[in-house]
Symmetry: C2
Subunit: 211 residues, 2 copies
């Protein structure tokens, strides 16, 4: 990386140093085209125009490639949630609701990606950067609930169990959507984002202090 970078060097991206990124991109393409079962190391290598053994220079094994793909997904999803929350800087409860809706919309738009993020081949373990992003999302949620408490929108006490219930509710909805398991009568009546907002409203009523 040169010190001055006007007129970016235009170095060819394939076969010259960033095979790693090319493999991640190829895996994402396979994922969106064929679903989680269609992602193979050999297939990604083929799509990147490289031999079947080449990926092992950049990833310890298939799980490491999938973890990189999953990490990408977590980053994108977190960014979508943050953008949505920023629209309500002065109303933490509304910000929380918007965040949940944005997460669920992301999952509805990228179901295979979400499946892979939590799938058996990735599974937290051994991938510290993955666990780090999951941890950041969790502490962010606890903080958001605490903000609601300070604003008087949620009853006082340990925010952790309250945040956990929210987490379960949103994650459950997201998983059902990714797995196409929404009961037909429900799917016919409501969009994913609407379901998320409605769920959040129900739970926030339960979390609100008695008035």
């Amino acid at each position: 990386m040169p010190a001055t970078r006007r007129r970016a060097p235009r170095r060819r991206t394939y076969h010259h140093g960033n095979l790693r990124a090319a493999l991640v991109a190829a895996a994402v393409e396979l994922l969106e085209a064929e679903g989680p079962l269609g992602v193979s190391l050999r297939g990604a290598a083929r799509r990147a125009g490289v031999s079947q053994a080449a990926p092992y220079r950049h990833f310890r094994d298939k799980g490491a490639l999938l973890a990189a793909v999953a990490e990408q997904g977590f980053r994108d999803m977190a960014a979508a949630g943050a953008r949505a929350a920023e629209q309500y800087p002065d109303d933490p409860a509304r910000a929380l609701r918007a965040m949940a809706a944005a997460w669920v919309r992301f999952v509805a738009d990228h179901p295979s990606h979400y499946r892979l993020m939590l799938g058996p081949s990735v599974r937290g373990r051994d991938h510290p950067s993955l666990r780090a992003s999951a941890g950041a999302a969790w502490t962010g949620l606890v903080g958001a609930v605490a903000s609601c408490q300070r604003a008087g929108r949620v009853k006082a006490g340990d925010p952790m169990p309250l945040a956990f219930a929210l987490w379960c509710l949103v994650h459950g909805l997201a998983t059902l959507i990714a797995d196409e398991q929404i009961p037909p009568a429900v799917r016919a009546a409501f969009s994913p984002a609407l379901l998320a907002e409605h769920n959040m409203d129900l739970l926030l009523e339960g979390l609100s202090r008695r008035s």
Copy 2:
């Protein structure tokens, strides 16, 4: 099957007519021993003492075998929930809570089985008996919510969106448990069944009519 069946015929179970059941049992053993990725058609055939091609007499493909395994799981889980609910015949809200706790306990005890039930290889489609059990569980839940409404424990109105929120909440918790994604601070403080009951209490407060 003879008309009179005193002193049951004692027909050897393997290699004589119920290879199908033997294969399902073998697949369940593989599942519990090696996790969802360790289940292979060839492996199940080996474990049942039969050639690699034999399963195709009984299952159209691997997905059909996995669907049979998943169906077994749905039946066991539904039975556990029903047993728990029967303990509170006169308090529908408490029965609902006990049912949720029993479901979550089942998932905590059989995480791989739950993963497979919702995994990408099974995926509702093409397996009508699977969709039937899922549908039965859903209508049962809607009915339970309606009972709570009649008992005045849940606010009036369409029970469907309320039942759906409960469904998301329990399913989200179950999925997090099966995937070992409970935040460490939460896991350290509460058992799975306790988390289920706590979540249900929070949401039932939200669903209760203002008093």
